[in-house]
């Protein structure tokens, strides 16, 4: 059995205009220490999938097993970076990270928790801004705080919902490089949601393409054969890169015309 098993996940939302079937039976597996990306068009149901795995909403059908244990609700062992900035605006960078550290380490002495908090702020290079409030930070810095907060939960699984989609292209590249470095150091198990094919190939070991909704499903996973550690430069020239990209784009295009 895989580290994370998602089987036959279905979810619809009841709205005033009727029932919209968002997910129509999603299957997905993730091995421990693996970095998996899910790529899909906007509105196909990616956030819905993340919310289900995080346990924030309940599926209509299907099951989610993490280390063989069914997911029934939210918990810090599935750390999440939300699509919108969800930093608490009344807390400083430190306060936001400390909230997570304090919540998952209630038994540790205060000095030790402080040390861990500092460590995660340093990990995302925000030590100089540690006392700033979110509104004083740039978009890229805010997303770094969100990443630090999610990592500070020491999750078994890190869920990232389009973490870099709200920042400009240059900042995005920097953040991707940083994420590569952090993942290289810690080898956490990551599920990254993105609508950026190149981002998925740069970061992930395997990529699931998602068909556009309604009744979205995941296509067969595409292996990214690129060796690690990866460098952004010259990567687009590698045959493995082009192979993965072509497979992905082709699947997504076919899935869209099939609608």
């Amino acid at each position: 059995m895989a580290y994370l098993e998602v089987r036959g996940l279905r979810k619809s939302y009841g709205t005033r205009s009727g029932l919209t079937a968002v997910l129509g039976g999603v299957d997905l597996t993730l091995e421990e220490g693996e970095f998996v990306a899910v790529v899909g068009y906007s509105g196909s149901g990616k956030t819905t999938l993340v919310s289900l795995i995080a346990g924030l909403i309940a599926p209509d059908r299907g099951e989610i097993l993490l280390e063989g244990v069914p997911v029934t609700g939210p918990g810090p062992e599935r750390g999440i970076v939300f699509q919108q900035y969800s930093l608490l605006p009344w807390l400083s960078v430190r306060g936001n990270v400390a909230l997570a550290v304090d919540a998952v380490n209630p038994g540790l002495p205060a000095s030790e928790r402080r040390r861990i908090t500092d460590e995660f702020i340093a990990l995302v290079n925000l030590t100089p801004a540690a006392w700033k409030r979110p509104r004083q930070l740039s978009g890229g810095m805010r997303q770094r705080v969100a990443v630090a907060r999610a990592l500070a939960m020491r999750p078994k699984l890190l869920l990232m919902d389009e973490p870099f989609s709200a920042v400009d292209a240059l900042t995005r590249a920097t953040l991707q490089d940083e994420l590569l470095r952090i993942w290289g150091e810690r080898r956490s198990t990551v599920m990254l949601i993105t609508n950026d094919v190149d981002e998925a190939i740069l970061l992930a070991d395997r990529i699931y393409p998602m068909t556009p909704g309604p009744d979205a499903v995941l296509g067969p996973a595409i292996e990214v054969g690129l060796p690690r550690p990866r460098q952004r430069r010259h990567m687009s020239l590698e045959p493995a890169y082009q192979k993965a990209r072509q497979a992905l784009v082709e699947f997504l295009r076919a899935a869209r015309t099939a609608r």
């Binding site: 924030l56 969800s86 919540a103």
Partner: protein, 256 residues
């Protein structure tokens, strides 16, 4: 900078001058009993220039009278916040509580202070607690309603952060719900303070207690009309200052 001075000082002064002119014209034409601005100043001079003299229970400098009123408002306002804030949080947090008590809140909100005061006198038998009871009862609604609205409009994203971290109920309240609601709460406080000050005049007039409102009513009965105007201006000035002070506090808790 120039434009700033003309907009912030000269134009408001111009507005005030217009009012003085209209007041003067009205006092010499349609309402001969209304004291003119000059006469009002002459007869009120002592109350303003020696604001803390005391010749008798109701014959005191305007500073002293204002102080009595402010203390009374302070007590009523404090009581309004002490009762209104928790009710607001309960209304926002609990669907059951909302279903049980929201109709009552909507029902009690429009009741005038003039209606509560006699009831307060019946309950407390004394004018001072009756006045404070009335102020509290009339002033607490903006606090109740703004707090409840604030709790209900907390972004689900913030609450989801708490859910993922599995924060306890108490921690969710202290770390997320209360800080997220605070700006709304303080808007409620500012509106409540304005209402409390609005009610004080009525409360003092009806109970005849010393204060700006009590003084106003007594001077009306003694036909010293210039002192009515003095009281009115004092009430307006203090209300304005109170609102500005609460506005400063409100701006401090505003997060975004």
């Amino acid at each position: 900078m120039r434009i700033d001075i003309s907009q912030k000082v000269i134009l408001p002064l111009l507005g005030a001058a217009c009012v003085l002119v209209v007041w003067s014209i009205v006092s010499v034409t349609v309402a001969p009993d209304l004291p003119s601005p000059g006469r009002t100043w002459r007869e009120s001079q002592r109350y303003v220039l020696e604001p803390f003299f005391k010749d008798g229970e109701m014959n005191q400098g305007i500073g002293r009278l204002a102080f009595y009123s402010l203390v009374r408002v302070g007590k009523g306002f404090a009581l309004a916040l002490a009762i209104g804030t928790p009710i607001g949080f309960l209304l926002g947090l609990s669907r059951r509580f909302h279903q049980s008590f929201d109709p009552i809140v909507q029902f009690m909100r429009p009741i005038s202070p003039l209606a509560w005061l006699p009831l307060g006198l019946v309950i407390f038998q004394k004018s001072e607690p009756a006045a404070i009871f009335t102020i509290a009862l009339c002033a607490m609604w903006p606090t109740v309603i703004n707090t409840a609205v604030g709790v209900r409009s907390i972004s689900p994203d913030y609450l989801n952060v708490g859910r993922v971290l599995k924060l306890s109920r108490v921690k969710t309240l202290t770390r997320i719900v209360i800080p997220a609601t605070l700006p709304y709460v303080f808007t409620g406080y500012r509106l409540s303070l304005g209402l409390a000050w609005l009610v004080i005049v009525a409360a003092e007039m009806l109970t005849g207690t010393p204060g700006v409102g009590g003084f106003l009513w007594q001077e009306y009965n003694s036909l010293v009309y210039s002192h009515i105007i003095l009281s009115v201006i004092t009430i307006g000035a203090i209300g304005f200052v109170l609102d500005r002070l609460m506005g400063l506090v409100e701006a401090r808790v505003r997060i975004d």
